[in-house]
């Protein structure tokens, strides 16, 4: 089936056994994102820590309702960013966005791809434009939450 190129085992596995799921404390910021087209939603918290003077991602916790692509993508996103500095995590976030917008024609940076970890499995999603928003939901929520968390840091 053509669609198996999108629904790789890795993605289905993250869907059935999502990593880092659940809402935990402490956290620096929380966001609630919705995809108005389909009603998929995610509540996501980011906990930042200090790593040698630089902010880093201590934890990403979330509660989400949605299709296998949105759930698996959120799961893989948490794996890709937890423990990284915010700077690195933002680069990874950008790489994933680029991969999604590549329409299956991506010739992306090998090194960037390596940083995506399991999330490279989503390359097939870019060939099904209707599902790109699903794949991006968790990543955009993380970006938003982290931006808010950084603002709070700056204010303290």
């Amino acid at each position: 089936m053509e669609v198996e190129s999108m629904y790789q085992e890795l993605i289905l596995d993250h869907y059935r056994h999502p990593h880092n799921r659940g809402l935990r404390e402490p956290y620096s910021a929380e966001v609630h994102h919705v995809n108005p087209l389909c009603g998929d939603e995610v509540t996501l918290r980011v906990a930042l820590k200090d790593a040698d003077g630089e902010p880093a991602v201590a934890d990403v916790s979330y509660d989400a309702l949605g299709c296998s692509i949105s759930q698996a993508s959120a799961s893989m996103m948490t794996e890709a960013v937890i423990g990284k500095t915010v700077g690195e995590a933002m680069i990874i976030n950008g790489a994933f966005l680029e991969l999604m917008q590549s329409r299956g024609t991506a010739e992306p940076d090998e090194e960037l791809l390596a940083r995506l970890g399991d999330a490279v499995a989503f390359e097939g999603v870019s060939r099904y434009p209707a599902r790109i928003k699903c794949a991006l939901l968790g990543w955009m929520a993380w970006k938003d939450a982290t931006a808010q968390a950084l603002e709070t840091l700056e204010q303290t």
């Binding site: 089936m1 053509e2 389909c38 009603g39």
Partner: protein, 438 residues
Amino acid sequence: MTTTRSAPRATATGPARGLDVADIRADFPILGRAVRGGRPLVYLDSGATSHKPRQVLDAERDFYTIRNSAAHRGAHLLGEEATDAYEGARVRVAAFIGADPGEVVFTKSATEALNLVAYAAGNAATAGPGEPGAAWLRLGPGDEVLVTEMEHHANLIPWQQLAQRTGATLRWFGVTPEGRLDLSGAGRLINDRTRIVAVTHQSNVTGTIPPVRQIADLAHDRGAVVVVDGAQSVPHRPVDVTSLGADFLAFSAHKMLGPTGIGVLWGRRELLEAMPPFLTGGSMIEVVRMEGSTFLPPPQRFEAGVPPAAQAAGLAAACAYLDALGMENVAAHEGTLTAHALEALGSIEGVRILGPLTTDDRGGAVSFTVDGVHPHDVGQLLDDLGIAVRADHHCAWPLHRALGAAASTRATFYVYNTHDEVEALANAVRQAQRFFRA
């Protein structure tokens, strides 16, 4: 000017005759195309938009190639022919719903038609003294607008907005777990403060057909005006405005084999006459001076801009096509497909159908959830097999919440669908369950 009510549509006598679906399918060029993996198209999304037969495509093309001009303008032959095409379409569409052509307004869509009534009411509420606007239009605090939880967003949000802007109160009928309107509070919800009641003629999610006539009678007893969303009814079964009981009816061409970009608002003459315009500009004016302008009577008052004559020609051809099939036969055909789908899907373990489970007062939209498989994923699997459905909240988010579903997968049926396609749908759902190990 005297107007005569157009001749009633011929109705079939005796039992509905089955449609010759193979014959019909041959009229639709798009049904011949292949989709994913070279598979044939199984199109079960007519509730979103319907396909077009050659006859409609030809009518629109013929307008552009033979008589293209701006209707109601131009001192030349083409202008006359374009005007005849446009006004002729109005007469044809009016006959399709048993209406007087003077009560048929062409809009962009059903959504625009519903907005038109809401904006007319809103504009009347802010009108100066001496400007048109009957009492029912000039809403303010203390007045009520009554809708339902079953509505498509097009027949919900304009009323929410109207209430917010005028200070009127929005109230609504709820939905029962079976997907019917909960009319138990009707005595309370339809009261002396009720000005407008807006209700669907057929749910685009559950297929539910509410008792519009009954609701309209209650509303009229209290002097309220009734607006009916016919987007999912007019294309699929006989609708006659004389027996409907409503004061306004909205529907779209593109859902009834016609082109995109044109819809219809039918409204009772005396009500239209009291309404200020929604969109203003050319075509709808009487006298224009810099200091102010006056407007034409309806329907022209509500048709600003160069008329969508090509689209009107397409819609007229769609009405002719459907009338040749006979709307009773169209409804009967869809009824058998719906019954088949309800049975075939309903018998799959883990599948929950939203709404009524029989075809009693229930039209051809079958929306369902599959345990453990999100509608998007169901839709994706079906797409892979060449089956086109819709998978989201179908622009009826409150209805989904009321029925305890975040989203659903929806199959809708029309004149070109077959029982084999219903079987294919059921088999595909089972395949989706296996693929996602649900």
